[in-house]
């Protein structure tokens, strides 16, 4: 960018030619005196401190003893002090003056508070920045307070202020110079005028004067103003350099509206005593710091990529630079496909959010295929897989089961272990996380089941697992007619003559609309009639099932949300009618409710309404209530990968435990894991409420954290059995030959996505390289990554420590 020399007055400076600049300040000034240019000189006149600003404690010592007070004051350009003094519980409005002089500065203040008067009078001493005050003080007024004594103010925090003078000198006739400029200090700016001969100059303003006389080693000077008199010598007047092109740390940048930006600062170019301006105006919400040129703020509008010219200018001239800024829709509110190239942590984020863990093989697969292709497999749910057959055979079958009915008579514990087994072994872990989402959503529990019907929960869970990527309308119907739900929320006893509102209420409050949203008690009464008719029966094998008893169904017309469901429909027709009326509510409250909940489970809480609305429209218009295409978009949209979705949720116990085991391979017996999850308060198949489990933050109790540690403890303590089964922590370590303590710490931390600080890393390397003695001391014992015993003791111990890292509690 071109440097331009100013020829127009700015900030009140006159722009006139100067022909004899060389007269000033010796060689330094001689370079700048070309015809047609403005010559600008500036210098700092140091008269510290020239203003008393801040809060200072003082002690008033009298015959009664000492009492503390504080003084909060500021000083104007004339040395007038105003502020408050707080003393003995009273707040005095004080005024007075301060006079700074080299040898003896004085402070004099008077204040009143009600009928009480306070006077402080004394001497300021000590060097710049460490001044003290000593003097007399008196309090008059209420008898209880009246006192007179010695006042000591500690001014150690007194600011060291300088007066800064900027002048433009222009040569007139007969070797005389005229000058205009400013003096500034303490936030006050005083306009100066003056001039004189080259050897003798003076500048005056309303409350500041400065005179200079040429001496051998520069000017001698005297100033008066801002409450201070000062003098010095050896002052050199330097010509002010013209600014050079400002260069920004990030010359081309894309910001997201709504997020505070990282300050874009100037890293190149100079602008002595200058100001910065920008043209055209920055996108709304962004601002340029006129002194530093830094651009900060929070963009509030979307604007296309555009070039902005930033001009650095001072009294000597200006220079311009450019930067390019775009503000775009905040990624956290964008349901658009994430088109950028994903980084390794993006892939790890994708896998750990959707599947709770990421092994090396998983990472390799998703990185080679890309997320979109990877989703083809992830979103197509196979049934009756090898893992499902094995889990059913291992966990559900009892020796007493009649032939042909194997697995139909499990205990509630067996059912819980069955799903836990699946979570540990499922070929498609996403099927389990989405199943668990719906389990949390339709929170049912085996605790309400009669012992013989625990298989209801197996069928229920499979509906959620298989239907987790299916049609949402179908899922609602399947769940409503599901024996587990008909037991859990009393549908099996909801009859024409004795309607039961339990399911009707929760269907809207928890499953489709959200609490107190749209529905009323009248709708619940009508809904209960529509949901009536199912009853529980038992077959010849003693297995329960649900079927419609037409005598129990209320066949009258029902009015829900102002819409009439005609009379004489069958139970199943009524079920479909209620679902369809609900899904068809104007404003799409169901789609908003459910897409927001899915988003919150997989990304972050409280998404912007703009995003929720877009997701709801997409789910209805494009996906036609099909979950698979919606989930595909959810897992590839910009908001899913936004920073808000990182370290944004506390892991629930199941995710924490299952995630650790599958990431490390350090399996527990299913029975042990089931017991630990029960202790941790999140046993699959036993939702504590119809509303599922608590939110993430609620898991952070001291007991919960202790028990998480206990879960990992069992995983790492299971050395022998795991090793006999071919499971060894060596599989998690760096390749043979590279198994140093440092490499081992780094590799395991990365695999668990733990963010170690440098201090953490140092300490954990030390952990691997030491052993503890019985008396509590430690001894050096270099880590050998090839040693089985070191791996079994130290690397497993390291995993237990890493799993306790605060960043491992959060996903």
């Amino acid at each position: 960018m071109a440097r331009t020399h100013r020829s127009v007055a700015r900030h009140g400076f006159l722009a006139l030619t100067v022909g004899a600049a060389a007269a000033f300040g010796g060689g330094a000034g001689s370079a700048a005196g070309a015809e047609g240019e403005v010559n600008v000189y500036s210098f700092d006149v140091v008269t510290a401190p020239v203003c008393l600003e801040g809060t200072f404690p003082f002690t008033l010592t009298t015959d009664d003893g000492a009492s503390q007070g504080t003084l909060t004051v500021e000083t104007d350009a004339k040395g007038r002090v105003t502020g408050t003094a707080d003393y003995l519980g009273l707040s005095f409005q004080v005024t007075g003056s301060v006079k700074f002089k080299a040898a003896k500065s004085t402070l004099s203040l008077d204040g009143t508070s009600g009928r009480t008067k306070l006077a402080l009078d004394g001497v300021l001493g000590g060097g710049p920045g460490a001044r003290t005050f000593a003097g007399g003080a008196s309090v008059k007024g209420d008898a209880a307070l009246a006192r007179k004594g010695t006042c000591v103010i500690d001014l150690a925090s007194a600011p060291e202020q300088t007066a800064t003078v900027d002048v433009v000198l222009t040569e007139g006739k007969k070797g005389k110079f005229a000058a205009e400029g400013t003096a500034a200090s303490c936030g006050d700016v005083v306009a100066l005028k003056g001039g004189g001969k080259a050897s003798k100059l003076s500048f005056k303003g309303k409350s500041f004067t400065l005179s200079l006389r040429q001496g051998d080693g520069g000017f001698e000077w005297e100033s008066s103003g801002f409450g201070a008199s000062a003098s010095g010598s050896g002052l050199v007047l330097d010509p002010l350099d013209v600014p050079t092109e400002p260069v920004y740390s990030v010359p081309v940048v894309e910001y997201e509206e709504g997020d505070a930006i990282a300050a874009n600062v100037i890293v190149g170019g100079t602008n002595p005593r200058g100001r910065f301006s920008v043209s055209p105006g920055l996108p709304a919400g962004l601002a340029i710091d006129v002194v530093t040129g830094a651009i900060t703020g929070t963009p509030t509008e979307i604007s296309p990529l555009a070039t902005y010219t930033v001009t650095a200018s001072n009294a000597a001239g200006s220079a311009a630079g450019t930067l390019r800024i775009q503000t775009r829709l905040n990624r956290s509110r964008s349901f658009a496909f994430e088109g950028r190239t994903l980084a390794e942590d993006d892939y790890r984020h994708f896998l750990t959010r959707t599947r709770w863990f990421a092994t090396d093989a998983d990472m390799a697969a998703v990185q080679s295929q890309g997320v979109d292709t990877y989703l083809n497999t992830m979103l197509s749910f196979q049934r009756n897989t090898a893992a499902e057959q094995a889990a059913a055979a291992t966990e559900l079958v009892n020796v007493t089961d009649p032939p042909g009915l194997e697995g139909k008579f499990p205990s509630s514990t067996q059912v819980a272990r069955w799903w836990t087994n699946l979570m540990l072994n499922s070929e498609n872990p996403f099927k389990e996380t989405i199943g668990f989402f719906w389990h949390d959503h339709f929170g049912c529990s085996t605790v309400v089941l009669e012992g013989s019907n625990n298989f209801y929960m197996v069928d229920h869970v499979n509906k959620l697992r298989y239907g987790g990527n299916g049609n949402f309308r179908q899922l609602l119907l399947d769940v409503a007619r599901d024996p587990m739900m008909l037991v859990f929320l009393d549908g099996r006893v909801n009859t024409r003559t004795a309607p039961n509102e339990n399911f009707a209420r929760e269907f809207w409050e928890l499953y489709t609309l959200g609490v107190d949203n749209v529905y009323t008690q009248a709708d619940i009464v009508q809904g209960a009639k529509a949901w009536s008719g199912y009853r529980e029966r038992y077959d010849a094998n003693g297995l329960g099932y649900m079927s419609v008893d037409t005598n129990r169904h209320d066949t009258g017309a029902k009015t829900i949300f102002g819409q009439t469901i005609p009379g004489n429909q069958t139970t199943d027709q009524d079920y479909e009618s209620v679902v369809d009326v609900t899904l068809g509510l104007p404003g799409r409250p169901v789609a908003k409710f459910i897409t927001k909940k899915l988003f919150e489970y997989y990304a972050f809480e409280d998404p912007d309404q703009v995003l929720v609305d877009e997701m709801a429209d997409y789910f209805v218009d494009t996906c036609q209530w099909e979950l698979a295409p919606f989930l595909r978009r959810l897992f590839t949209c910009e908001a899913f990968f936004h920073a808000k979705a990182r370290r944004a949720q506390v892991k629930a116990p199941v995710e924490y435990g299952v995630g650790f085991i599958r990431a490390t391979g350090l399996v527990l017996r299913v029975s042990s894991l089931d017991s630990l999850l029960n202790t941790l308060g999140q046993r699959p198949t036993q939702s504590p409420t119809v509303n599922g489990w608590p939110l993430g933050e609620l898991w952070l109790s001291s007991q919960g954290l202790a028990d998480r540690t206990n879960l990992i403890y069992q995983c790492v303590e299971d050395t022998t059995r795991q090793r006999n089964a071919g499971i060894d922590v060596v599989n998690l370590m760096p390749p043979s030959g590279q198994r140093t303590a440092g490499n081992t710490v780094d590799t395991l931390a990365e695999r668990l996505r733990v963010e170690l600080t440098e201090a953490d890393r140092t300490e954990l390397v030390e952990y691997l390289n030491t052993v503890r003695n019985t008396n509590g001391t430690t001894t050096n014992s270099p880590f050998d990554g090839e040693s089985q015993s070191h791996r079994d003791e130290r690397v497993r111990g390291l995993l237990l420590i890493l799993a306790q890292h605060p960043t491992y509690q959060v996903r």
């Binding site: 529990s445 605790v447 309400v448 037991v487 009393d490 006893v493 009859t495 004795a498 309607p499 039961n500 339990n502 209420r505 959200g514 609490v515 107190d516 409280d606 370290r647 949720q649 506390v650 202790t679 308060g681 939702s687 504590p688 409420t689 119809v690 509303n691 599922g692 489990w693 608590p694 939110l695 933050e697 609620l698 898991w699 952070l700 109790s701 001291s702 007991q703 919960g704 954290l705 202790a706 028990d707 540690t709 206990n710 403890y713 600080t757 201090a759 300490e763 952990y767 052993v771 503890r772 003791e793 111990g797 390291l798 420590i801 306790q804 890292h805 605060p806 960043t807 509690q809 959060v810």
Partner: protein, 432 residues
């Protein structure tokens, strides 16, 4: 049948707001309070007043707990061809002692509480509730937990639970208020302190940290502890760190108290009795806990509720065992007079039996206040046939009147900042 619900933790908007606010103070949560929990002493401190809340989660049919035997509508409303929930009290002794009454009897499954009544240590408060009853378990529990009916906005107070506010002002240590077996109940959330919330004291330990563990285990737990203490982060990371740090510190202190507790009392093997035993352990251990909160579920008796025996009576037996054993243990230690137990539920049930031999969600209920500090008897308006002929028991005493009274008169705390919302009905109770 409906779910037995040990936890009632709704996931709604107001809950989220509270959580956010609780995060804001997370940085100061654990460090200050943690260093200041009271070390166990050899015996329970005398004259340290305690409040214990027992919540009957699910909405208890208290008409079958404190039974209005003199009202004809009681049995008529509770009997139907499809089933009955009326309790036959013909064989049940009348309520005697200094506050003898012919109007009510306690359910036959509550003999030990009846004995405490006869000693003058049981008060019951009729028609407890709050304005505009909400029939959702979760909403109603939220109102009990926050102590606020009409939202925090008009109050200028950050969303928080009432115990959180109490602890902030009056007992700002991790042991000042303790939740036993109630998860992270909203009552405790949203303050600057981090109260101890445990499922049970016995389960509150960390494997491999006991002093007799192997050197390898002690080695790694030492490095884990130091890593946690050293950690400094933001947001949830820091909140996790605080909870971990607290886990290490408190498990050690609590296990010491548990190991040194001895008692002459026989505690039932039910969750409620065991949690009340835990409270006794902490009292005997010298912890200066002012509020204990525990509870148990199963009261959502929409069907097959039972009469003299059955689902609900078995829950009453659990309450009776727990309160009876606790009272005896406290008497043995000479601190029964320091105790006030408040028994609540999120709402009462309908006055009449439904079609499934159960009762549906209702409004007002009868609260119990039990303890050596209590002046027994009947509080609140006596029930009438007209009350029972209505759909619900209309509320006449705000539950916050009970809490405020106990806080002010028993715990010597200022109840105003704990319950900042003006009450529509303010009842001047003199229970303690």
């Amino acid at each position: 049948m409906s779910p037995a619900s040990p936890l009632h933790l709704p996931k709604n908007v107001s809950r989220r707001d509270i959580l956010k606010l609780s995060l804001a103070g997370a940085g100061i949560t654990a460090l200050g309070p943690l260093g200041r929990f009271c070390a166990p002493a050899s015996a329970a401190p005398q004259n340290l007043k305690r409040m214990i809340v027992i919540n009957m989660f699910g909405g208890c049919d208290t008409l079958n707990m404190v039974i209005p035997v003199s009202l004809s509508s009681y049995s008529s409303r509770r009997t139907s061809a499809a089933g009955s929930v009326a309790v036959d009290t013909s064989g049940v002794p009348a309520l005697g002692g200094p506050f003898a009454t012919q109007l009510y009897k306690l359910h036959p499954s509550l003999p030990r509480i009846r004995a405490l009544y006869d000693e003058g240590s049981v008060a019951f408060v009729q028609r407890v509730g709050y304005p505009s009853a909400n029939l959702s378990h979760f909403e109603s529990q939220d109102i009990f937990s926050t102590g606020v009916r009409n939202g925090f906005g008009p109050l200028g107070v950050s969303p928080s639970g009432w115990i959180a506010r109490y602890a902030n002002d009056n007992a700002p240590t991790s042991m000042g208020a303790v939740g036993l077996g109630v998860g992270r109940l909203l009552d405790f959330i949203g303050g600057g302190t981090n109260p101890l919330l445990v499922s049970s004291l016995g389960a509150f330990n960390i494997s491999g940290t006991a002093s007799n563990s192997t050197n390898a285990r002690l080695h790694r737990s030492q490095y884990a502890k130091e890593m946690i203490q050293r950690y400094s982060g933001a947001g949830l990371n820091q909140q996790s760190r605080d909870a971990l740090d607290q886990a290490y510190t408190l498990t050690s202190a609590v296990q010491t108290a548990l190991a040194s507790y001895t008692t002459a009392v026989s505690w039932a093997n039910t969750s409620l009795s065991q949690r009340m035993r835990d409270a006794a352990v902490l009292i005997e251990g010298g912890f200066e806990t002012r509020i204990f909160y525990t509870g148990y579920g199963g009261f959502d008796t929409h069907s097959s509720q039972g009469q003299s025996t059955g689902a609900l009576p078995s829950l009453f037996t659990q309450l009776d065992d727990a309160v009876g054993a606790f009272a005896q243990d406290m008497k043995n230690r000479g601190v029964w007079n320091d105790i006030a137990i408040v028994v609540i539920t999120e709402f009462g049930r309908r006055n009449y039996v439904n079609g499934s031999a159960g009762t549906d969600h209702g409004h007002g209920f009868c609260a119990l206040v039990i303890g050596g500090a209590v002046t027994g008897g009947s509080y609140g308006p006596d029930l009438t046939n007209q009350d029972l002929n209505a759909e619900h028991l209309a509320y006449a005493v705000d539950f916050r009147s009970i809490y405020k009274h106990i806080l002010g008169e028993h715990l010597a705390a200022d109840p105003a900042p704990v319950f900042p919302e003006p009450l529509t009905i303010e009842t001047n109770l003199q229970i303690v």
